[in-house]
Amino acid sequence: MRELRIHGRGGQGSVTAAELIAVAAFEGGVFSQAFPAFGVERRGAPVQAFVRFDDKKIRLRSQVYEPDYIIVQDSTLIKDVNVFQGVKTGGIVIVNTEKKPDYQVPEGVKLITIDATTIALKAIGLPITNTTLMGAFAAATGEIQFSTLENALKHRFPGELATKNIAAAKIAFDTVKGGA
Amino acid sequence: MACKTCELFDSGHRACGGCGAALAARLVTQAAGPESIFVSSTGCMEVFSTPYPETAWKVPWIHSLFENAAAVASGIEAALKKQGRKEKIVIMAGDGATFDIGMISISGAFERGHDFTYICYDNEAYMNTGIQRSGATPYDASTTTSPAGKCSFGNNRPKKDMPAILAAHGAPYVATASIAYPADLMQKVEKAINTPGPCYVQIHAPCCTGWGFEGEQTIAIAKLAIETGLWVNYEMVDGKVTKAKKVVRKPVTEYLKTQKRFRHLFKPKAQDAEIAVIQAIADRNAEKFAIDIKLPPKKE
């Protein structure tokens, strides 16, 4: 079983990203499970969402404590929340930032930074980074294919909005692929 | 469809002899007719009419709880709509269920605009549990929870204006009636039933046990309430008063003196100041509804 933890702020679409990653993974032929860290957080407050991937039916219901993957939607969170907590050795951390990192990820963990905000602004016209980061996640981990991600976005968003989100995800996907 | 020759509220029920509410049930079921479904709240009428298996109701009838008759009726209305059925829905609830405990469910159901008729048989206190004060209890009435005593003249608040509250909800038809005027009562119930949307009829139904008078006087006392202006029979269509029964008014003492619940206003000594307050309530009613018939001055 592999586990993903997404850190974001209320309103940034972390829960939607978790759901869509699970949908794309399931379409790709693995069992998946997505759920939010249930809370009463309002817009702007730190939030988390989780995804599990496995080759067999997932029964585990606890939250994710030792993730294989971490997505940080907003690098300002790194000061407030221990976003890297529990990440497994060999794990991958994806951080949305335009700056060079002034923080350390645990040893043996791969850090990928991407300026998802700029990509999202360009492709969608809004600083909403969740779908962009999904593209980065697909490229970095191989847990989901871009084609299933594309389908999941088409299914969730109407017409042009889907197209824009797919475009944003594609830029991130290619950026990370190219970087790797 | 009304059926004036139908007896849809059966003999053998366990109301007190001379019960105003039982008469109201008879008249309302006749006015509503057999193509109706009745919903009762918990209360004296529910208890005197349905000890298992002896139901007095010859129309389909349901009782669930004290406070939820309007919500139960909402569900029935929805079900009938989906089943394509045409029966009329009539709620029969006492003043405690209507003015007090059922207020939330009534407000919700009226706001949603269900098609039913809500009848409140108003005997002005909780009679089922032993004559406790309700929001419909009139000023200075002595009840077991608003007893007259050395420092009290009984209930210290006037009746809640329930018809106005429901008219404010947008009820298309709101009326008050009295068992003393059965033809008027039945006409109003019929009109309410045939008006689409939530309608309300509040029926004055004296309770010989709770008010303290002999059962044979039930109708006479109901009449006195009208004749003194303490109860006004009126109709409101779309929130506007369209009709009110006019009377040559009598002083309120003629009504108050007939009932033990007001006895403390006369014995051991007449409480003129309190009686004046009640007279003022009647005067305000008379002015508000313009019910006074002005007799021509007597010729010398």
Binding site: A34, R59, S62 | I76
Partner: protein, 385 residues
């Protein structure tokens, strides 16, 4: 067809397929996604029902009482404070023998206010006369709605039913489920057509009162109906299995129980975590098994006694607490079911108000049970006491 969807949406879809004519509910976290989805179905002509937007939960269930008595299949959903607010109607609907089905997205009860999961809400209604089904995952959460209507409406039962699933943990989780088709549901669950209803053509009085001469027998009859429901669940649960491949005939279900020395007894979504923990303990050579309770009312006492006959010790997990008694409701009732047996039964109150339960917690409980330590809260933060 297998699809991946949120638990609440899967439940709403199952309810839609059951074709209720009247839906009446009041929004409350974490039930909201269910009723929003149903309202959306109605708004888009995907469900031919009246959706009554009542002013509170008491009226939500009251409207169902009226609609059910008038002969319609009805549905509501609630949780926690909402369920408590409708308590009077909960008991009333059962006494009136109206087969309403209501989803409970289980949530803790205040005070202190908590929107998070435990099972105190539905467990507190255990004496109301409602059937109570508990789902381990969203597949069960959906399937049990079909079964619940079928059992509730059976003429030998005629009792309302809760379908309970853990709030957030299941209701807000996306996972794959196999949703049966409308044709299949129609075949399994025929149109509701009660023998008696509010009907001018055949006037009947519903909800009369009973004097002491009758009351006891009415309660006895409800108890008998609960007991008859066991066989009815077995029959229709098997039928579901034959038709759709998932057999729900058993009120309790064993996992690695055959040779187990320690048995965990649990309900709801925690069973999944327990199964994973058991697999790991088995790999370490520990003979641990699980007995999952899927139906809490009628309570499967005999089935539990039989299933646990060979184990040495039992650890009962309760996401509820009967304050002032010996632990949670399940432990108390399992202990009663095991009365006379030499098996040790220990209760563990855990997961209250959303406290997360991990595999390591299950392992810890098993070792506590092996040491004979139990009948306590598990995982108390000692620094706060």
């Amino acid at each position: 067809m297998m699809e991946i969807t949120e638990g609440s949406h899967a439940v709403a879809e199952a309810v839609r397929l059951c074709r209720p004519q009247v839906v009446s509910a009041y929004p409350i976290t974490p039930q909201t996604h269910i009723v929003e989805a149903l309202a959306d179905f109605v708004a888009n002509c995907q469900l031919d029902a009246e959706y009554i937007t009542v002013e509170n939960e008491l009226s939500a269930l009251s409207a169902c009482v009226g609609a059910s008595a008038a002969g319609s299949r009805t549905y509501s959903a609630t949780t926690s404070q909402g369920l408590l607010l409708m308590t009077e109607v909960v008991f009333n609907a059962a006494g009136m023998r109206l087969p309403i089905v209501m989803s409970i997205a289980n949530r803790a009860i205040g005070a202190p206010l908590s929107i998070w999961n435990d099972m105190q809400d539905s467990i507190s209604m255990r004496d109301s006369g409602w059937l109570q089904f508990y789902a381990e995952d969203n597949q069960e959460a959906t399937d049990l709605h079909f079964l619940a209507y079928k059992v509730a409406e059976d003429t030998t039962v005629q009792l309302p039913a809760f379908v309970c699933f853990d709030g957030f943990i299941l209701s807000h989780t996306y996972e794959p489920i196999d949703m049966i088709s409308q044709e299949q549901v129609d075949q399994y669950l025929p149109k509701y057509n009660p023998a008696e209803k509010l009907d001018a053509k055949d006037p009947i009085s519903f909800g009369m009162y009973a004097t002491p001469d009758y009351y006891t027998e009415f309660r006895y009859e409800m108890d008998m109906a609960q007991k008859r429901a066991k066989e009815v669940i077995a029959k229709y649960g098997k039928e579901f299995g034959t038709m759709f491949g998932r057999d729900y005939s058993a009120l309790v279900e064993g996992y690695q129980l055959e040779d187990a020395e320690t048995a965990i007894v649990a309900m709801g979504s925690i069973c999944g975590t327990v199964k994973d923990a058991i697999d790991e303990m088995r790999a370490e050579g520990k003979k641990v098994g699980l007995l999952k309770i899927r139906v809490f009312r009628p309570f499967p006492s005999e089935e539990i006694a039989l299933a646990l006959a060979k184990v040495k010790r039992v650890a009962v997990l309760d996401k509820n607490i009967s304050l002032g008694a010996k632990g949670g409701a399940t432990a108390i009732e399992v202990r009663d079911a095991m009365y006379g047996s030499a098996t040790t039964v220990k209760g563990y109150v855990l997961g209250l108000g959303g406290r997360d339960i991990r595999k390591k917690d299950i392992k810890e409980i098993v070792s506590l049970c092996e040491k004979g330590v139990g009948d306590q809260f598990y995982g108390l933060r000692q620094e706060l006491i």
